[in-house]
Amino acid sequence: MSFIFICLATGGLIGFFRPPSKALAKYVNLATMAGLFILLVSMGAQLGSNKKVAADLGQMGIQAFVLAGMSVLGSICLVRLLAASLEKRLSLSAAKDISKAGERR
């Protein structure tokens, strides 16, 4: 697990202190996409080579639907609980921000 955090922190520090130029950002994005593609193909290959997993895909679909639905519902319910006070406070802050930005222009 430390490997994950080391890679992520290294990238984060590079990005924050030495943000890549537009041209370099393209290559960074390309490398990220290449890494992601290899990992997704590899995940698919491991799934495809396991006959039991392939047979359970229908069941997995139902589980995924329930997990996704409940996650979305949980997020909506909690934001609903905080919505009234948050909207009041955040719209005031955002309005101040916009007026300050206008003054700068």
Binding site: M1, N29, V41, S49, V72, I76
Partner: protein, 193 residues
């Protein structure tokens, strides 16, 4: 999704057994490469972080509520489906970022649970696309930010922008960026519990 299907076809019919042993080294290198790239992308979002300073700490209550709600919902679903706490919570911690959550879980825990995380978070993104315009009209603009999770900084941001206003779009951007930062940290921690 195409990459996973391609991999499944390859693994089912064409993957030679001699290559399977080398697959782990290749995927570890790919994971490192991808995470450094993700880190660079998140770290270089200085404008979002400076917006966060202007809006104040209260704006972080939105991703906090979305994140806790998402985790609670996934754990609740896990209880219904008899899934262990570590699996359901880690899947919920994907916050809609299906590619990263799926490959992280597949790499460090189990490929089948990784596939479930991938599918769950794909469905979450699809649900977000359908729910955002409805929530913005029927409930409130801020609530339209909730279903998208981490995707509110990229794929669902244009939908939020069209369905709500400029203030909510900025909040959505901060929400998505904050949750995206949490995904690569929370998923490995929760799946290892």
């Amino acid at each position: 999704m195409g990459a996973v299907v391609l991999g499944m076809v390859w693994g089912r019919w064409f993957l030679p057994a001699s290559l399977a042993g080398h697959l782990e080294l290749v995927t570890n290198i790919a994971l490192g490469l991808m995470l450094v790239g993700v880190g660079i992308e998140l770290g270089s979002k200085r404008s979002t972080w400076s917006r966060l300073c202007v809006l104040g700490w209260r704006v972080l209550l939105v991703p906090l509520a979305v994140g806790i709600g998402s985790l609670a919902g996934a754990v609740g679903a896990g209880l219904m489906l008899n899934l262990p706490f570590n699996e359901s919570s880690a899947i919920g911690a994907g916050f809609g970022w299906y590619s990263l959550s799926g490959v992280l879980i597949a790499q460090i825990y189990d490929v089948q649970v990784g596939a479930l995380a991938f599918l769950t978070n794909v469905i979450r993104e699809l649900m977000a696309f359908m729910l955002i315009p409805v929530l913005a009209v029927k409930m409130s603009k801020l609530m339209a930010v909730a279903p998208g999770g981490a995707t509110t900084m990229d794929t669902t941001l244009p939908v939020i922008s069209r369905a709500t206003d400029a203030d909510t779009t900025i909040i959505a951007l901060v929400n998505g960026t904050s949750l995206s930062l949490l995904v690569p940290v929370l998923v490995p921690v929760l799946i290892s519990l």
